[in-house]
């Protein structure tokens, strides 16, 4: 692999920078792209799992994200970090997946909701898992755009400005969607409680 590592000076084993890996990929080095994928896959898997219905959909979204990144790498302008650019693609791919799903099926109740994204470390964290599942069901009742905004804001910890940059929506639009999402979530949770009583 012809990656320039000469500029990195650390006591740890030298890691090629994103820029050098991107240049090598554009020069036809597939191994360099595989290194980029290895570096950011955890981030993209984590984000996709917030929106995906099951493990297969997580894999599909992640593949779509990295394929788009690979095919459009020449269009990447280095005015923002590569991770930000990749996250923007992941947000768009997740949005597309949510819209596709909305077309495919109607809405169902919490009892009918199937949680199929396998979390292999979850057994010791039952309470958090239950909270996440309840929240995921409630989130599934939102409009796609509201779900994207509230997930990025409340679960992924992005600021309104960052979400605006990731989605391409204005900051006031993001705020309105976040507010609406909270209102709908509260109503859905209350309805769910009433049904269980």
């Amino acid at each position: 692999m012809n990656v320039d590592t000469s500029t990195t000076v650390t006591s740890e084993p030298e890691q090629p920078s994103d820029e050098s890996l991107i240049s090598a990929t554009l020069a036809g080095d597939e191994g360099a792209f595989a290194l980029l994928v290895a570096r950011y896959k955890r981030r993209i898997f984590g984000l996709s799992a917030r929106f995906a219905r099951d493990s297969d959909e997580v894999e599909d979204i992640c593949q779509e994200v990295f394929i788009k990144a690979f095919e459009n790498l020449a269009a990447f302008r280095h005015d923002a970090p590569f991770e930000h650019w990749l996250t923007r693609i992941a947000v768009r791919a997740s949005h597309d997946a949510l819209r596709r799903r909305r077309r495919e099926k109607g809405q169902s109740g919490y009892d009918d909701y199937v949680f199929e994204v396998r979390d292999y470390g979850a057994e010791a964290r039952q309470e958090a898992r239950l909270a996440r599942e309840l929240l995921k069901w409630a989130l599934s009742r939102l409009k796609e755009e509201e779900r994207i905004v509230i997930t990025l804001l409340e679960l992924e910890g992005y600021s309104v400005r960052e979400i605006s940059s990731l989605t391409g929506w204005s900051e006031s639009n993001v705020k309105v969607r976040a507010h609406r999402a909270r209102q709908v979530l509260k109503r859905v949770l209350e309805e769910s409680d009433e049904r269980q009583r």
């Binding site: 597939e30 792209f33 595989a34 994928v37 290895a38 896959k41 955890r42 898997f45 984590g46 799992a49 917030r50 493990s55 997580v58 894999e59 992640c62 593949q63 990295f66 394929i67 690979f70 994204v117 396998r118 979390d119 292999y120 470390g121 979850a122 964290r125 309470e127 958090a128 898992r129 909270a131 996440r132 309840l134 929240l135 995921k136 409630a138 409340e154 679960l155 910890g157 909270r182 209102q183 979530l185 509260k186 109503r187 949770l189 209350e190």
Partner: protein
């Protein structure tokens, strides 16, 4: 909506935020699967419908050029009466041949 609902929602967010889903098993060999798919896509080439979309700008430019040309084209009027009549007859004959009359 009550403050309780807000608090409950915030608690749910905090609980869900505190744990990242463990997707490490799914991540295994992801690069291998991805690179295989990329190679497969490259072998298959660009699908025909993508080519049509890519041809849209070229076709649009062609249409504009033809429209501009036909709007600006004015056949020169002939002063020669015989030429004008015979030109009309040629068109008539060609039409007859093409339609088989």
């Amino acid at each position: 909506m009550s403050d309780n609902a807000d608090e409950r929602l915030d608690r749910l967010f905090a609980a869900a935020r505190s744990e990242r889903m463990d997707t490490s098993a799914q991540e295994e060999h992801f690069e291998t699967r991805l690179m295989a798919r990329l190679r497969e896509r490259r072998r298959e080439g660009i699908p025909w419908y993508a080519l049509i979309w890519r041809a849209v700008p070229v076709l649009a430019v062609l249409v504009v050029l033809i429209a501009v040309y036909s709007a600006s084209y004015k056949p020169t009027a002939s002063d020669d009466l015989f030429a004008a009549i015979s030109s009309g007859q040629e068109d008539y004959l060609v039409q007859n041949v093409l339609t088989g009359e």
